[in-house]
Symmetry: C2
Subunit: 158 residues, 2 copies
DNA sequence: TATTGTTATACTCTATAACTATA
DNA sequence: TATAGTTATAGAGTATAACAATA
């Protein structure tokens, strides 16, 4: 049979007519950047009016599922540096979504908890994110979705 | 047989022991953000000393494969807004990697070209990116790589 | 009127170094 | 000595609005 096609049989994957972008389209880094950008844009369109951003939701979700977690562990879990976490947690406490309580054993640390307002925000956000995710994955069947997650997981080396 | 496992059979995908992150790990948005971050970090570690960043390389690669392209088309092809493209192209011209020439038919526009220095930079960057990409995809076999690209492409709705 | 390139601006994310108070 | 949280700061990506020159 013929030669192996570069990717999916398309010689020009750019949306711009007459513009070649095969080189970039063949790079995971580029694909991830574009896919990530598209998802971020839809996320903001879906939850922007709540004042929710991807990072803030990640914090809320982690604090909810790990009540009493401290900032260092939280940051390490999400790939966010301690220093960059501070203003984010500040934002959440200012908006009364999260509480900093005294840590039971370590007086250097805070124990983070979601409060009532935070729980309500989480519920509303999760609901919207469900629709948002469904929109992003709409062209993939169940098997493809599993496969995508599996492959993205294999990619992660962090 | 038994119930369907949520994802890949792991109940806790966090790297932090005792920390639950199933909710986030089940979101494409989160997976893409983390994968993208890991790839960006390795890219900078691999090409940072060249003064190369993912966006700059994307510009160079596109100008190389589309000599004479104008800034608006370039930006649209890469998902970068015209206004944000200006300082990036400025940086490339200042470093003598790219030239702005008069557009043959449209006096409002510039025609962008890679010059000698730009070609050399492109060659060196491509070589390093090859190794970088291989590193990122090392845990995926050829079939998995094809599949990943196919699925990422299906995801893109931009 | 619409489009190209541009300026200005603001927000967010990320990275680094250094400080304090506790461990 | 090391760690948790913090402050300060700088770089980079992204978004919007508005303008001059040209189509």
């Amino acid at each position: 049979m013929g030669k192996i096609e570069p990717l999916a049989g398309r010689s020009d994957e750019s949306d711009e007519p007459g513009i070649r972008s095969e080189l970039l389209e063949g790079l995971v880094g580029y694909r991830l950047r574009r896919a990530n950008g598209a998802v971020m844009t839809d996320f903001m369109a879906s939850l922007g009016d709540l004042g929710m951003r991807p990072v803030l939701f990640a914090l809320i979700a982690m604090i909810r599922d790990n009540p009493g977690i401290n900032q260092t562990t939280l940051g390490r879990s999400l790939g966010i540096q301690r220093a960059n976490l501070v203003p984010l947690v500040n934002e959440l406490t200012t908006r009364h979504l999260v509480e900093r309580r005294a840590h039971p054993t370590d007086r250097r640390a805070f124990a983070l908890y979601l409060n009532k307002t935070g729980e309500a925000m989480f519920a509303e956000a999760v609901e919207r994110i469900r629709a948002h995710e469904e929109r992003m994955l709409s062209r993939l069947d169940e098997g493809e979705r599993r496969k995508l997650f599996e492959l993205l997981n294999k990619l992660r080396a962090d």
